[in-house]
Chain length 342, copies 2
């Protein structure tokens, strides 16, 4: 194995505004050899996620910034191909944080074993059954305190998080409206994700009016993925004691100047609205219940998802940049190796 | 008594932007005679509050709009001068919602008896021991979930609500910085309200930098009274798991167009910030504990307040308009009759 190469994507420049392909570079190293207590992993899929944009900027945040000239990192799934660690055996499938590369060694601390379920692909553990799914589950049920039968508005509704939010809410007997950026995505939201309505925000001239028309009785929970105009339209149409869990504001991630905030913010007072930002890693303890519910719903055909898969690690920058253009339909993934390497 | 007149202030026009004296008119009626089960009250003080601006606009909100040509209403304290209701006797001091007039009759449903405390004036039940005080108490301790020793930023800090917020926080061992609009108010905040620092927002060129300098370790609770630039500066300087109880946004009440919202809103995500609007009337059940704590602190010289009192009901519009210019120092009140009418 020592002659084999491992490809990885490194950060070449810190992007200004929208990232460009030239901000990244493809490099290769020798496949490393696991030392004492270590495990060698061959990645199968890596995830690209909007939050990674923040790590490309050199500022303190909840995760440290990526370093120029070093391989990026992020969620990935792969297989153990050599192990000097009694906790992992060759053939184990593992979730890890060493994406953006094909091979890596680790002492195992970052690995979580995946108990695969027949009919659910390995890559689902980066999407519906992974971090984006838990973001939806914890954000809606815990942060958003969703109650059965409430009225739920979801932005970026066909995305990796939003699509799961819509279906959890439907499974809880809610009225659900999602917003997405194409008619194809809107069709999927209504026909497959069972949304009551879908709003194509790219063709709607007046988003506020469209939200008002879709929610004549107002919104109990707005699941915020987008920021900007969506937040403003939601704020103006909330019901009493409404909640706005905020997991992302993708509209702002590439802004070189901060865009204006929600002019409607004053609505929080009469309507007693709660806006609450959250980070999925704070909700790791919900994982067992989350996996159990999601597998149950999936087997009952009450949880479906779309994936957009780019083939080859060299396409990872393109996949990442595509997130901000809405090129993905559901979870955006990059295949960086076979499901089974051993 | 039937020959006596009762003066009242009526809404003449709905204000556009900043209210003008001509939007109001002074009128008089005969002093009414209490019918069966009714009580006649002579008001001593009436309150003017920023939230009343919202009721002058014809839109649905948490309280219905005032009607043109009718007397305004709001918090007042007065004395029972005649009673056909066994629950109230002549001489009782009562809190009521029939301000902006000298006399009124009621079946008693809106009245709360005041147990006066030696050394605390009747008008305090419209301020520190009334609705603004409870707003501070419930907003800081319940909505803001204040913990001992935290770092607290208060806007409109010398106002009726803010001054109480500052001192409750000090009584809970917190580090407290208030912002106010004059050096005199800032002096009072530090010397009398025991704030650790005060920021004069009218002379500070860069509010964000001033807030950052005052909170090198960030803010745990920002008590939001103002909106606009203050909210933005606070959002950019919050600590992890910070809370922002929002009781008012006085900077916006007279806006004819909604001003830009907080551009920093995205900070809620990495810092897990909660922004929560609230209305004091939802927290009425906290009143006994609130009064008990406030009287105890006052007797121990750990709770002080300023009042700005205009004399005569005819000055009520002037007092109300003055709220939006910062003419008040502490609670703005109008004396509309004697403390004791019987």
């Amino acid at each position: 194995m020592s002659n084999q190469k491992s490809q990885e994507i490194r950060l070449k420049h810190r992007p200004i505004g929208m990232p460009k392909p030239d901000d990244f570079e493809l490099a290769e190293t020798a496949v490393p050899t696991p030392g004492e207590g270590q495990v060698l992993v061959r990645n199968s899929f890596m995830s690209v996620d909007p939050y990674m944009r923040g790590r490309m900027t050199d500022r303190a945040s909840y995760v440290p910034p990526f370093q120029i000239g070093e391989a990026l990192s992020g969620g990935a799934v792969g297989q153990v191909v050599a192990s000097n660690n009694p906790k992992f055996k060759v053939g184990d499938h593992v979730n890890n944080f060493s994406g953006w590369r094909e091979w890596f060694v680790t002492n195992g601390g970052e690995l979580t074993k995946i108990e695969t379920v027949p009919g659910i692909g390995l890559q689902a553990y980066l999407g519906a059954l992974g971090m984006p799914g838990l973001t939806a589950y914890a954000g809606l049920l815990k942060v958003g305190e969703l109650k059965e039968g409430e009225r739920v508005f979801v932005s970026a509704a066909s995305g990796a998080v939003g699509a799961i939010v819509c279906q959890i809410a439907k499974n809880k007997g809610c009225y659900v409206v999602g917003s997405a950026g194409s008619d194809e995505k809107c069709d999927w939201l209504v026909k497959t994700a069972r949304c009551d309505k879908a709003i194509n925000y790219k063709t709607e001239k007046n988003l506020d009016a469209a939200v008002r028309a879709a929610f004549p009785e107002g919104i109990d929970v707005y699941f915020e993925n987008v920021g900007g105009e969506h937040l403003n339209a939601a704020l103006g149409n909330m019901r009493m004691h409404g909640r706005i869990p905020v997991c992302g504001m993708i509209a702002q991630y590439n802004a070189t100047e901060l865009p204006p905030g929600p002019a409607n913010i004053i609505a929080v007072i009469p309507m007693r609205i709660m806006i609450k930002g959250f980070i999925v890693s704070d909700y790791g303890s919900m994982t067992p219940q989350f996996i159990s519910d999601m597998v149950g719903w999936t087997k009952a055909s009450k949880m479906k998802w779309h994936e957009t898969i780019y083939d080859g690690i060299e396409r990872a920058p393109e996949a990442f940049i595509g997130l901000f253009k809405g090129d993905n339909f559901g979870k955006m993934l990059v295949r960086v190796g076979p499901d089974n390497a051993v």
